[in-house]
Symmetry: C2
Subunit: 340 residues, 2 copies
């Protein structure tokens, strides 16, 4: 059985007053007699509708809604971010409209426009893949920021009304590579799947650490291109293919834990001992690190802390305060069984 | 810089007409002169606001929004469900309001009330943990269903305006236990973490299969009680503890993949060979199955199919059609390296 949604017309008709009068009552205006006010409130009560949502619909208050965009809310890392943000925003009295955009720019532009249409109070982009290498592709972010604050989790973009909360991916990766080098490991494969903002920062950290140590990164990077970012066996296949082509390595430094997990799978297939013959380091310090034996060493980019600061910054901006445009936290390598 | 949200008052003032007239224009009423209509449209254009969202706020149309509740959107299995649903609903022109409720009934009641206040067109409960053993605890679902259709993914509840889409967990678990028994394995540990609707169905399937084979389930079930459902090492600790107490087993039949992964971890610790000395079967057929070596055998409960049917059923209900109250799909054991 479908219910008829109660409208301003229903209340107006039932109370026998004009729509403007109903609006005045909703708005708490003094310019309504007490008798009329009571008639309207009675009609509202009898029709069983909720003044708050209604008042918001009239634009009397803000929508108290934040739009959250993520490429794929089922990606374990992004899912965690969405979870933290939803909890934190709810604590501040805000609801979350979730948009899963996939990875195409076209869909992202459409989702962004949709959220603006919904009169959200702010937009959070979860994941660094929303900031493109080519500045022209980032116009959709600037367009949105012209209307509401745009918060970037794990990405940075210098533009008005855009706020970035990032982990220092460059330094984290630089330090991880450096640690491997200090152990005498020079054949390091940097294994990645994305040239997003954070992806480029990570890769630069790896390259600079190698360069600083006088090491070549000639064929030391490998990108997993396949569509499905969860396809661990396909990632292991790629590593095996490269290895069989004669490109051997003593360590895999991966841009996320899924890729690192695939390196462990590859090692088992080939009978390569971890960490004695192969060190593996992941990124994100996700629950995957505990799923494998030995447990995965991984860089913790402090996602929960980032989400807390993002929410605090957004609340500050919405409250009309001057807030920092960019906040950067240091990451930390959590050493477990896949490093010596 | 905060923007002032455009209201019906702004349009009315700017166009020099009454609020009722603005409403009539929004509503497409004939009872407005063309000159007045043009004045209102001009004011709308100049103030740069979006008629559709506004009209919805007035209750002229539906909100075209579905509330999605999940205990924890970062749980890999629930995250996948949310992802599928969000995509499918967007395809139907609906937005998703996400509420992460945690596992307490109190929070769930509050979230449910909030979604109703938001005038969502329907509510989807993702995960079987929303249906409680005690009927009195399910009142919050019935209350919501008195206002909007409530869809249950992976749970069932026989009540007006409640629609259930489930996988046949009972039969899937019965068949999996039966397969192990047919291989001569009689010491099966059923390892679970929840007595949710689907949890109880799974356990019953295990117990009935054992009973049908004339086997005892005396101490054959083990519940992981700890708060963090991702704490794989703690799960492995529990298995080790039980084993060290002298309760040995030849198979672990787990109610989800995370628990099954912990059984593999436990086996490595103890030097128990999988699958020769220990068979392990998980549930959900998640990406975790591919993260371990050997890869995990797991029951596929066809979540994407469930989400498709849930969305189709909801759209049917919202369209005023008679739709099935309960839809049940068969699951399937995907055999990989952890079973013989």
């Amino acid at each position: 059985m479908k219910e008829h949604a109660v409208t301003i017309y229903d209340i107006s008709k039932q109370a026998g007053v004009s729509i403007a009068t109903v609006s005045r009552v909703l708005n708490g205006s003094d310019n309504v007699s007490e008798a009329t006010r009571q008639k309207v409130l009675k009609a509202m009560e009898e029709s069983g509708y909720t003044p708050n949502a209604f008042a918001r619909g009239l634009g009397l208050n803000t929508m108290k809604t934040i739009g959250i965009m993520a490429a794929d809310s089922s990606d374990p890392y992004l899912a965690k971010g969405i979870y933290f943000l939803e909890q934190l925003l709810r604590g501040e009295g805000y609801d979350c409209l979730l948009c899963c955009t996939g990875y195409s720019l076209k869909n992202r532009i459409a989702s962004m426009e949709l959220l603006i249409t919904k009169k959200v109070d702010g937009i959070i982009l979860v994941g660094s893949n929303f900031v493109y290498e080519d500045d022209a592709d980032n116009k959709y972010i600037l367009d949105a920021a012209a209307q509401v604050p745009v918060m970037l989790l794990n990405a940075a973009l210098d533009a008005p009304n855009v706020y970035s909360i990032t982990s220092d991916d460059y330094t984290s990766m630089y330090n991880a590579a450096n640690m491997l080098i200090s152990e005498g490991i020079t054949d390091i494969l940097y294994f990645f799947n994305s040239r997003s903002y954070s992806g480029r920062r990570k890769e630069a950290g790896f390259r600079d650490a190698m360069k600083a140590a006088g090491l070549s990164t000639g064929d030391g990077t490998l990108q997993f291109y396949r569509g499905n970012r969860e396809d661990v066996p396909a990632m292991a296949d790629l590593l095996e293919h490269v290895w069989d082509q004669g490109h051997h390595f003593e360590a895999v430094l991966a841009s996320d834990d899924t890729l690192a997990i695939s390196a462990l799978k590859f090692a088992v297939r080939k009978g390569i001992k971890v960490p004695e013959e192969l060190s593996v380091i992941g990124y994100n310090n996700s629950m995957l690190t505990a799923c494998v034996t030995p447990e995965l060493s991984s860089i913790d980019n402090r996602q929960e802390t980032l989400c807390q600061h993002l929410t605090a910054t957004l609340m500050g901006v919405l409250g009309g305060n001057e807030m920092p445009k960019q906040t950067v936290f240091a990451g930390e390598l959590i050493r477990r069984g896949t490093t010596r």
